[in-house]
Symmetry: C2
Subunit: 280 residues, 2 copies
């Protein structure tokens, strides 16, 4: 039989193939750091594969108009930038909330402000889910505490939990039911165009966090406090609870309100300007 | 010889191994969406592998102090949140800059403000590289235009370039040399502790974009304009030019200054509150 006569060649061929596979895999992991970085940056592009529609996300005949802008005198520019710094420098991450309610109009203004953020190709890939209902807050707290207990005990590892010790955090999250409002920030990874085709959301990761930065500024300006939390592993359960589509992913959960009377914070300092700014 | 007698068993074993490998790879790709999401969320944890030091990033004996906070009357809260929204709503992404200079003190206040951002385990993983030197700006423009021409012509694909058409962008970036200041935002993926061990920067991706959101707010408050650009593929070249360490990666490049006299912008509208906010 042909196979029995020439089995050595088949065998040698197979071994060669296996060796090539192993060497190739090894090589793939030996990219220089720079090349790796280039490839990571191209990831956004890979997302685009498989989409054929070539109608632009924005209207093709988008008009361009003169920018409506008035120059502020330099002295005022300086003062405003200094005042804004002073207000923002007072911001602290707060983990103990008062149950005192906040007028909904303030929350609406804060969300409106976050909605002014820039986004890749003006896709505005954000949904802010605002929770005021106590039963919903209780349910959210149960989902998060259940996952967080597993996170702290099993998933996070000693390094991480050790790093968090000085902040005195754990898996008990009273702030979720104490704070009058929760804002859950969902990123939209894609959306649907009017003709039913998919609209891609370029740089949605960066866009959602930039919008959250502006949200944090708005909360601080309004005299409220918050905690920038990133619930680990609770995304799908919370998405189902809040009936958000699969195209959306939970990125941040912010309790918003007033601090508890005896609220304490870790005695942290921020890096001075010289440590964060480099000049050329 | 042993091998010649029993080659069939070796051969069968090898084939079995190859089949198992193929089936296993196939299975790995068949995770349900929810499971995929859970795994993606755990990525942060995977980064931690290989690090053994278990000293916390923050001092172990970090003191906790009473929060220094004064309540603002509700009426004022409402007014402030409305005023801040009005100012931020005027923000537009600007692509045509005047060459008029800006006092450095304003730029410093803006960076200081960005430095008040929250970050995972208070790691403050940011370096803001500020460029005022014209030769440096010219060199940066050359590096970016060279890469961007390849991006537009080869890498980005028809969908992406079609989506960008209404914004009238291309690979010529005059704003890089026109604007008096460039702020290059680098994220620090890790840093070194005083004892030489590595300090992990949890959630550095989210932290850097949140800080950039607060940077954008500070630029707008100061009466200046900017463009939130994400130079594709230029990170390593610009990092080398600006002598930043390998632990840092370029995320954003923001030209900052005044708009050109005849500056035009696309006639875009933002989503109304009902489209971005969901209530429970």
């Amino acid at each position: 039989m042909f196979f029995q006569l020439y089995w050595q060649y088949f065998f040698a061929g197979l071994i060669l193939w296996v060796v090539i596979k192993i060497v190739f895999n090894f090589k793939k992991n030996r990219f220089s750091d720079d090349k790796k970085e280039r490839y990571e940056q191209l990831e956004g592009e890979f997302e685009l594969k498989g989409y054929r529609e070539i109608q632009p996300a924005l209207p093709k005949d988008l008009k361009h108009v003169l920018l409506n802008w008035t120059k502020i005198p330099i002295e005022e520019s300086l003062n405003r930038s200094k005042e804004f710094y002073k207000i923002m420098a007072k911001r602290r991450t707060v983990r103990h909330f008062s149950k005192e309610d906040v007028p909904k109009e303030i929350i609406e203004n804060i969300i409106r402000t976050a909605g002014t953020s820039p986004s890749g190709a003006h896709t505005e890939p954000w949904t802010f889910v605002v929770i005021h209902n106590n039963k919903k807050k209780q349910k959210i707290r149960e989902i998060i505490e259940e996952e967080e207990e597993i996170n702290y005990k099993k998933r996070m590892g000693t390094t991480w939990t050790t790093d968090l010790q000085p902040l005195r955090t754990n898996w008990i999250k009273e702030y979720i039911t104490d704070a009058p409002y929760l804002i859950l920030v969902f990123k939209q990874t894609y959306s649907s165009k009017s003709d039913g085709s998919k609209k891609l959301h370029y740089y949605n990761d960066q866009s959602i966090s930039i919008a959250t930065g502006i949200l944090l500024a708005a909360i601080q300006i309004a005299g409220l406090v918050t905690l920038t939390s990133t619930p680990l592993n609770c995304g799908p359960a919370l998405r189902n609870l809040l009936r958000r589509p699969k195209s959306e992913k939970l990125v941040f959960l912010l309790p918003v309100g007033y601090p508890a009377k005896d609220c304490s914070v870790p005695n942290l300092y921020r890096k001075p300007l010289d440590d964060i700014m480099v000049e050329f």
